[in-house]
Amino acid sequence: MKDSFEKRLRTLHEVGNRLSRAESVEELCRSIVELGTSELGFDRLSIWFVDKNPKYLIGSFGVDEKGRLRKEIGERVLRDDDPAVRHIHTDRSHSVLEAGVPLRNGSGKVVGRGAHIIATIWDGQKVVGYLSADNLLSKDPIGEHDREILELFASTFGHLYSLKKAEEEVRSAYSRLKDVQHQLIQSAKMEVVGSLASGAAHEVKNPLAVMLQGIEYIAGKTEASDRGAHTTLERMRRAVEKADSIIRGLLDFSAVSKLSYTPQNLNSIIEKALRLVSYDIDRSKINTVREFQKDLPDVRIDDNKIEQVLVNLFLNSIYQMPDGGKLIIRTYSKKAPRGGFKVFIEIEDTGPGIPEEIMDKIFNPFFTTRRAAGGTGLGLAIVRNIMDMHDGKVEIANKKVGHGVKAVLAFPTNKRR
């Protein structure tokens, strides 16, 4: 037996208060269905949001044909499959009540007949979805009062929905901002540590050098029989070495000690970099194709830095092929016009390519089209920076044939092989 209309209005008010405490849109939707059935006496409830393509509705939460709460997030049905929704849509009314109509489950399949109310969810500007209630399980009659309660419930929902959604957006924008800020602080810190370290190195290593020379000088002037003096000098020497090793550690940590260039084979650096992104490659089901020149001449590079260049480029391509594709990596060498040789790495993907309008911005620090997905826009800026340090070149363009991007790295070398 349902409560009186007045009692249900009071309950609706309390339920509204409880709903306003939801922490997220998802929790709000779940509570709507839970409280709507347990407190307001509806038999089955479900929420359908209007998709980006307005022909479709997207599921959220609902009650299935056995009365269980069901998460239907991501399920899509055609809007016009439901005559009541079609009706409400053309009439511009807030709710409709129909009796003796087919009732559906979360996938749009008809599971019985009965009465059915649909109310629009209005966020203050537009209809964002529909709240639907029926009597599939209880067979209790549904009447005008139920329709009014559902309409009010849907309107409370719409109001809270727009609030929670805005809250969520602010929260995620804030956390993205935090991330970027964190990265900035990190790199600013490294810079400070870096300049401190090299400054300290100079100021400390020079006096250490004087002390070491002094110790050696005195050692040379001291009688070999004077054991005490020699032990003391040995202790002093060890103290100098200790201080020096601390300074070295600081320099290594801040990596201001210059890049360390060694002759390397780029084919094996590529393999190392690929191993670092193998998880992402497998997850997106991407095929890697290697077209390596076998006797590639060595190039003088800092292998860690070049690995970072390759990883940044690989990740850019991988992000653009979430549903699979091909990553082609090619290496070859060519005689340079002005003497010496050049070694090339080409990286091709089969993603959508880069829109021409943004082509001249992609190397700018902080330029990204993937901010929402966590991009910082530093990837290519770093790539260019590192290639500059190697007297190398990087070029990125859309492929002339087919779709996707081709990145070309060029390294100078004086070796033929």
């Binding site: 090299s198 190195a201 100079h202 290593k205 020079n206 250490l208 050098a209 004087v210 002390m211 070491l212 020379q213 002094g214 050696e216 000088y217 040379g220 100098v240 020096d244 070295r248 320099l251 290594d252 000690s257 210059k258």
Partner: protein
């Protein structure tokens, strides 16, 4: 004949002690120059077999001195080794092809470097 070593470094305490220590071995004649601007004229008079060149010096740095050395017909073939208080040294370290040693350095290490760089 003792080998002649020129040390160009603005740290006077360091160059004086190196000179004392190297001369104690009776293998070398050592000249020090604490003003990099005067490095070329000192070198011309002294005619060293090897020059140690500090990288970070005020006014003219090691690179500047090297440039002038290489443009002087009398000095351009004298071997040069860089001294530095910044870069972490490892045996094979070179800067544009010149061996680089990191301070602090012991006399034994210094003598190894000298032997390796004097033909």
């Amino acid at each position: 004949m003792r080998k002649k070593i020129l040390i160009v470094d603005d740290e006077k305490d360091f160059t004086e002690l190196i000179k004392l220590n190297l001369e104690q071995t009776h293998l070398y004649d050592v000249m020090t120059e604490n003003f990099p601007q005067r490095a070329i004229s000192t070198a011309k008079k002294f005619k060293p077999d090897l020059i140690f060149l500090d990288i970070m010096m005020p006014k003219v740095d090691g690179g500047g001195v090297l440039f002038n050395l290489k443009n002087d017909p009398q000095l351009k073939n004298v071997p040069v080794v860089f001294l530095t208080a910044i870069v972490n040294e490892d045996e094979t370290d070179t800067i544009s092809g010149y061996q680089t040693v990191s301070k602090p350095i012991t006399i034994d290490q210094l003598m190894d470097v000298i032997k390796k760089n004097i033909k």
